[in-house]
Structure formats: C-alpha cells, structure tokens
C-alpha cells in the first residue's frame, strides 16, 4: 500500500504543477479526453500487470491491437455475413410520404412494384401516408408486402431498370444470376437502388456482437497459445511474445493488404459505436469500462483464489507447485486474461482512432503497459503488484503526456520525458526499499 501511496503523491504533484502552469489542464474537454485515454491504456495495462505478476511479460499487445483492429473493421465493413437477412423491417422506412410519392411515379420500376401491392394497401398508403398516427401501421404493412416481393422471383428486367444506375454488387449478382438463394439479396439491392434515400441501406456485414466477439476471442486464443508455449514447452515469455509481436503485426498488415482500414460512420453498428465512444454519466465509455473491469480485477487479484495463486506462483513457483497448485494453468490463464483485456481495449482503441493503419496501429503499446505496471509497483521478477498501483501508473503516464502538450515542451521530447519519469520512479522505489531493509537490519 505504501508503494501506491508514493506514486499517487507523485501523480497529484504532477497534476498540481501542470494545473498551476496551464489552467487548461482542468478544463472539461482536457479532463474528459484524458479520462478516455486512461481508460484505453488502463484496460490492457491491467492484463499486462497480471502477466508481470506471474514473472512473465507480454510484448505482443501493440501487434494484437493492430490485428484485432483490422479484423474488427473488416468484419464490420467488408466481410459479408452469410446469414444476412434481406428482409425490410418496419423501421427501415425513413420518409414514408416521400416513398409513397416515389411509388406512384410513372417509371417502370415504380409501376412494377406498385402493381404488386393489393388495392387496399395502395388506397391506404395514398390516404394516410402523411398521418403520423398511422405511420407505424403502414410501415409494418408496407414491409410485409415489400418483403413478399423481395422473397419472390427476381424482379430484374433489363428494360425496367434501364434508367437506373445499379450498385456494383447488384450487377455482379445479375451477371452470375441463377441461384434462387441470391434473388432476395438482388431484389433488396434493386429496391434500394430505386428508392435509395427513403430506405435504410441493407446490412450485409457481420452483426456487431459477433465482430466484437472475433476481436476479443482472437487475442484470447493467441494468449492461450502464448501460455501453452510458455508452460508446456518452457519457452521464455519474452521470446514467445516477441515472436508474437512480429507475427501479429505482419499478419495484420497482410490481412489488410497493408491498407488503412476504417470504421466509417459506423453505419449499421451505431449501437456498438455508441457503446465504445459514447458517454455514461458524463464519463467517456472507455473510462467507465476501465472502472468496471478494475473493480472486477481487484476482486480477482486481491480477494479470489486465482489471485492468491497468481501471487504465490509469481513469488515462488516451486513452493506453489509443492502445495498442489496447478502452476501451469495459473500462468497460462494469465495470458488468456491478457488476451481478453487486450481484445476489449483493442476494440475501444479502434473506435477511438476510427481508422486502423496496420503498420503502426498500437505501436509501442506493450511498453506503455509495462511502464505503467512497473511504475505502479509490479516487479518484473514476479509476485508483486496491485490493481490500484497499475491504475495510478497508467494515469501517471497519460498525465505526463498531457503535461508535455500543455506546458509547451516540444512533443519530440515526449518519450524522453516518460523514460526519465519511469526511471526516477523506479529508482525512488528502490531507494526506499533499501532504506527500509537497512532499518530492519538495525533493529
């Protein structure tokens, strides 16, 4: 606890100094922005802390960020979901009166579609399209009829669609033609190209919960592999994760064809974006998620059996093994945990930057995490560390970066300042430890 107190004092001191020199430090925008970043970095630093407590290390965090980010973006905006539904839903209709007007226009597509509707519906639509009280009922009815058209045979006809510029995907489907399975997709695309702005565009990529699961499960799987290599093959964690660092970065660049991937306007996964980028109780989502995860991790590390085993294994793996603890499982689990937290942080970071350039997305992040954990009192020898310490360490590093910006220090010195402060922090800690030891010997 003393260790955490020391670094916490340092944190307050830095905040105080920065605030005194540049009051903008305390502005709502700056504080919110900092909370956001602390959230992003804190989440994976917690995981790194757990790994460091076992006496291990994980250098692959930054590369996993790139891999998870690239995969997330691709699953959300590029890779087709094979079970996509091409049906229209009631809330896909945006401007009902405008749509009804379009249906009635004397062009071949409209006439064809309009002709498919039963007379009662036609009359109903013409009469009540402007009545907001009727909107919901009409939307449902319209969706039902249009879905019947969509599910039916291909509505494509060369003459009928001659006047329209078709989306390339529809063209592709028309060329291939044939499979009845694709008619729904084709019909939906054709209808959308005819009534475009009054309808929500079809959602054909992976549903966001599944894309998120991929972005979390892949790092967990890699973490499991790290754990297996370390505990079963007895390869040093440094080596295993160094290979990971190189491997995943290369993989991310290859998968993305070395191009920048983006999340655009989050069209179709707005809920997901608002979860990752929005605010809860006025606080940025990553910060709130960090707080929730920290509380969980605090119980895991300081109050649960697993946490006790983690500390025991980190301090003395032999004694833990002799006490019947499955030390391999304990160590391997810490790397899986690391993967989980990296995945979560990776998603949040992808939304934060909104574009993922696989060659430098997340570069050096493992080092920020290690620095935060070490500043926060984790020993690289293992067996020591606390959740609170890691949080303070993360905050300290981010405040430092902020300080460099606000105090007008050239940003090229950014890394140098951080390096110096970590060194000073560790030196001070060592000094006080030695002093405490000497005192103990004297008594």
């Amino acid at each position: 606890m003393k260790k955490e107190l020391g670094i916490f004092t340092l944190l307050l001191l830095l905040c105080g100094v920065t605030a005194a020199i540049n009051p903008r430090f305390l502005s709502a925008t700056n504080l919110t922005n900092m909370a956001n970043i602390i959230g992003l970095f804190g989440i994976f630093s917690l995981g790194l802390g757990m790994v460091i407590i076992t006496g291990g290390i994980d250098l692959s965090v930054g590369s996993m960020f790139a891999l998870a980010g690239v995969l997330l973006s691709m699953f959300l905006t590029e890779i087709a979901w094979p079970f996509a539904s091409w049906e229209l839903k009631a809330n896909d209709f945006k401007q009902l009166p405008a749509l009804v007007e379009k249906f009635q226009k004397p062009n071949p597509v409209s006439q064809f579609v309009w002709g498919q509707f039963p007379n009662t519906l036609k009359q109903d639509l013409v009469k009540s399209a402007g009545d907001t009280n009727q909107t919901a009922r009409l939307q449902t009815a319209l969706a039902g009829e249009l879905n019947r058209v969509i599910a039916g045979p291909s509505i494509y006809d060369k003459d009928r669609f001659a006047a329209l510029s078709l989306p390339s995907k529809a063209k592709g489907l028309i060329e291939k033609d044939g499979s009845a399975k694709n008619h729904a997709k084709l019909n939906r695309l054709l209808i959308h190209s005819a009534y475009g702005e009054t309808l929500t565009s079809p959602r054909e990529f992976w549903p966001w919960p599944l894309a998120a699961a991929v972005a979390i499960l892949i790092p967990m799987l890699l973490g499991w592999a790290h754990g297996a290599l370390i505990t079963r093959m007895n390869i040093q964690p440094f080596i295993v994760t160094l290979c990971g660092l190189l491997l995943y970065r290369g993989l991310a660049r290859y998968i993305a064809d070395d191009g920048t991937k983006g999340l655009g306007n989050a069209e179709g996964f707005e809920t997901f974006a608002s979860l990752a980028k929005g605010k809860f109780l006025g606080l940025p989502a990553p910060f709130v998620i960090l707080i929730v995860l920290s509380v969980i991790m605090w119980f895991v590390l300081h109050r649960s059996m697993y946490g006790r085993y983690l500390l025991a294994v980190g301090r003395n793996e032999n004694a833990a093994r002799f006490s019947g603890i499955n030390t391999r499982a304990v160590i391997a689990t810490s790397y899986i945990l690391m993967g989980l937290l990296t995945g979560i942080a990776g998603i949040l970071f992808a939304f934060y930057t909104n574009s993922i350039s696989p060659s430098n997305h997340g570069n050096f992040f493992e080092l920020y995490g290690i620095a935060a954990a070490v500043l926060g009192g984790c020993s690289l020898r293992g067996g020591e560390g606390s959740v609170i310490g890691i949080l303070i360490g993360t905050a300290l590093l981010q405040v430092l970066q902020n300080l460099v910006n606000l105090l007008g220090i050239p940003s090229s010195l950014n890394f140098a300042v951080m390096g110096a402060v970590v060194l000073i922090g560790v030196l001070a800690d060592q000094y006080f430890q030695e002093r405490a030891k000497k005192k103990l010997v004297k008594h």
């Binding site: 649960s304 500390l311 025991a312 004694a319």
Partner: protein
C-alpha cells in the same frame, strides 16, 4: 593445519581440528554429513577464515584471505559440484580469469592458451582437443578439465570434495588412477569421500572428523571399512527426543518398484504402517529426496506403484497425492516449502485454499481462524498471522510448513530433513509434533542425514545407498554402525526387507 576452529551463528563447525598432508601423499578425510569436512577444506581454500588456529605451508604460517591467495600457495579445489563453464571450450576453462592477452587491442591470445593447455591434457591422459566445448564432454572428463586447471596453476595440493559422487563406475576408476598418478608426480591430494571403498583403494592415511573435532587417524595398514565406520560414529546421546512408543501396525502405505528420474535404473519398494515414523537414512545423494518427490507425484518421470490402504494412487500427479492426504515437507524450506514473501496466513492456507473460497472469493475470516489455530497449536512465534514468513526464524518457518499440511488432516506426512538449520528448542518441538501426528494415526516418513535424529525419532530406519534401499532396521537394531554399514552399501545380518509381499 593446527587447532583450527570455526564458529557459525549457533553452531560450532570446527573445534580445534588439526590435519597435515605430506608431499605426494593422499590423505582421505572422512566423517558424517556435517562433521566439518567441507568447512575445514573451505578454510584451506580461502573461502572461510578460521576463528582459531593456523594454517602452515612448507612449515611457514600463512594467511589465506581468499581463493586467489590459495591459488598462489598452490592449493587447488575440485568441488563436489563442477565449477566449469560448459559453454566455453577446454582451454578457455583452464585459463579462466588469467587469460594471456596479446596485440594492440589486448585480445585473448588464443594460440597461446590452446598451446599451453595441450600438455596438461596429455599429462592427464585426456584425449580431447583443447577446442572442445565442455558440454560435449561427459562429466568425468569435465572433472579432468578442472584437474588440468589445477595443474596449470602449479597446484601442489589438490583438494577433492566428493569428486566421484556424479561419476559412473568406470569414470570413477579413471579418476582414482589419476589421483595415484598425481601422487607419483609429487602432488598432495586431500580426498573427501563417503565411499569408503575408494578411500581404501587410494588413501595413504585417513583422518576422521566427528562433530567438528578430530576423531582419529588411521595409517595405510589400519585402513578398513569397519575401522573407519567405527571412528565416524559413537557419541553421547542428547535427551530431547520423544522416544518411540509405537507398536507395529499393518502396512498402510505401500510403495512398489518406484523409480525416480535421478536413479532411473534402480527400484525402491517399502511399506509403512499407521502411527509409525519410518526414518530414511543414507548419505547425501543416496536418492532419498528423489524417491519421496516421486511418491508425492512431483517427479513427472517417475514410475512405480503406490497404495494407500487398498487404493492405488496414480504416479506423477501431485494434486492427486495431496487430495488423498499425502504431503511433503520439502528439504528446501525457502525454495520449495514456503512462499516467503507472503504472510503466515497465506502460506498456511495455500494448499487448502478451495476450502476457504465460496464461489470465487476467499473468506479471510475463516482463513485467519485456521492460521491462528496452527500458530497456537504449533507455538509458532510470530507477531500475528499477517507477518511475512521471511521475517520468521528457521524453526518457525518450518512450523509454518508443517501447519499448512496439519490443517489438512494428513494421512501420510513426508518430512525431508525436517530440522536442518533449526535451533535445538524448535527441533524438540518439531519431534513432538511428529510424534503426536503419528499417534493420531498418520504414516510419517522422515528423511534425515542427522544420525542422532534418525536413531531417536524413528520407529524403524530404512537405509538407502545409491538409489536403493539396502536394508531396513527394526528399533533394536537401530545402531549407528548398522546404519553406516548399510549407507555405504554393505550388507549386514540385522537388515530386514523393506516390504512384505
């Protein structure tokens, strides 16, 4: 060496010991574990400074402050554990620390060290190139390289501490021939060994130490197995032991054909009954700890069969062994027994933590209760259960190790050197704890290299020699002579079989 004395905190390691070695003489130094042989040799080698007495070389008193001083006087040391760098070649090892330099950049003169090394290798009859990396050589040849190094220092006195403990039979033969060669070349050798056969073969004279004192000396003609053993044993008996009251009970723990990875070709079988303390005696390296680690499943390469009552246990699965109440108090208390940076409470509950955890959180209150029960019943001297184990004395640390298993209702408790490095008071308490546990019906196996402890604590004694049980002695036959005979691999009439089929 005259009247050498050396004290360590709480222990008098040497008390007025004198020995002398003539030029070209092979002096064997014998004694039990802890008799002071190694300490005496470390004083000659400059590792320790004597508190009393003097060391004379060529009749002149000398002061050996460090290893370099010893080297200058021509004293070389071949340790029990090899001190070679097996990632370097032979020549680099021979000239380690005094490499000749050459050229403007002061680089190591490779030509010279290889040229200078070859003659020593020839002299030792070692048919390897000086450019061979040491990890390519068998242990015996690595040891030869150490001897070559000693010769290159112009050593006149070579001290060999258990040089054959890791050698095969033929390698041992080769080494013994070498000792005789060295002798012919006028080098004096001090040969420390538990293997009395070797001593018999090469020694000109034997000096026996016991409890840090000279116990006697034998000339070449007087040397015999029995005469050395006789001199090594025989001392007064102290009274703090809780004497055996146990009656023989039918075998409860049965171990059959156990092989450990240390002695993969040797098998060990034994029986032990409830309420019995079965002592395991033997010399260091006899394979006792290894067999016990195999019994508790900590040796993944072990094979054999273990029965607890009628139930057979899987071998090589430590968690299964613990789940059935077979516990080990390991020899290396700090390295294997305790997580010293953690508190007494955390250590006591470490193996039984699942009992204190509901869903996934630990109930600290019940944890503290159990820890405090152990602190009280074992009389662990600690400020409270939250003190870190690293701050406790050796005896109290050992009680914490005992406590963590005693709170889990042991069926079989294996203690490896339970009182090593522990003061007399705590020793007596640990013996009492062991006897109480036995009276409650547990099987207790105790490895000990402390002869008195073996004799007075055990109900029966199994003696091991080079990975095998050479015999089991019943209480009336538990005599120091008998144990020593069995420990050096001799068969005696009093020895019983270790198990009944």
């Amino acid at each position: 060496m005259r009247g050498i004395g050396k004290r360590f905190p709480g222990v008098v390691a040497l008390d007025g010991v004198s020995i002398e070695v003539g030029k070209g003489e092979v002096l064997a130094l014998c004694g039990e574990n802890g008799a002071g042989k190694s300490t005496l040799m470390k004083i000659i080698g400059g590792v320790y400074q004597p508190d009393d007495g003097e060391v004379l070389v060529d009749g002149k008193p000398v002061k050996i402050n460090n290893v370099v001083d010893a080297m200058k006087l021509g004293i070389a040391f071949i340790h029990q554990e090899l001190n070679v760098l097996d990632n370097l070649d032979v020549a680099a090892n021979v000239f380690l620390g005094r490499e000749p330099l050459t050229g403007p950049f002061r680089l190591i003169d490779q030509k010279k060290i290889h040229a200078d090394t070859e003659p020593y290798l020839k002299r030792l009859g070692l048919d390897v190139s000086s450019k061979t990396r040491l990890d390519k050589l068998p242990i015996a040849q690595q040891q030869m390289v150490e001897i070559a190094k000693a010769l290159s220092l112009n050593a006149r006195i070579i001290i060999m501490d258990e040089p054959t403990s890791s050698l095969t039979l033929t390698e041992t033969e080769r080494l013994l021939e070498l000792v005789l060669d060295l002798k012919k070349q006028g080098v004096s050798v001090v040969y420390i060994s538990h293997r009395l056969g070797e001593v018999n073969q090469i020694a000109d004279r034997v000096v026996v130490l016991r409890d840090g004192k000279n116990a006697g000396e034998l000339s070449r003609q007087q040397i015999s197995h029995d005469s050395i053993v006789g001199m090594m044993v025989g001392r007064e008996v102290k009274s703090f032991y809780v004497e055996s009251t146990a009656k023989r009970t039918p075998a409860f723990l049965k171990v059959r054909n156990m092989r450990s990875s240390r002695y993969p070709t040797k098998q060990v079988s034994f029986d032990a009954g409830k309420g019995e303390i079965l002592g395991f005696a033997g010399l260091v390296g006899a394979g006792r700890s290894e067999i016990m680690k195999a019994v508790v499943g900590l040796d993944h390469f072990a094979t054999g069969e273990i029965f607890l009552g009628d139930a057979e246990l899987p071998v090589g699965k430590s968690r299964d062994a613990i789940a059935r109440g077979i516990y080990l108090v390991p020899e290396d208390r700090r390295g294997e027994g305790l997580v010293t940076g953690m508190t007494v409470r955390e250590n006591v509950t470490l193996p039984s933590l699942n009992k204190f955890a509901s869903v996934f959180l630990i109930n600290r209150a019940s944890e503290s209760k159990v820890a405090n029960e152990q602190i009280q019943s074992l009389k662990i001297k600690t400020p409270n259960a939250e003190a870190r184990v690293v701050n406790l004395s050796g005896g109290n640390q050992q009680k914490v190790v005992l406590g963590k298993w005693l709170s889990m209702d042991p069926k079989v408790m294996i203690l490896d050197e339970p009182t090593r490095g522990i003061d007399v008071g705590a020793k007596a308490e640990i013996y009492r704890i062991m006897r109480n546990l036995a009276e409650q019906g547990a099987v207790i196996l105790m490895i000990s290299s402390d002869m008195e402890e073996v004799l007075h604590v055990s109900d029966r004694v199994a003696v091991m020699h080079e990975g095998q049980i050479t015999g089991v002695l019943d209480r009336p036959d538990c005599k120091e002579e008998n144990i020593m005979q069995l420990a050096v691999g001799k068969k005696i009439a009093a020895a019983k079989a270790a198990f009944a089929n």
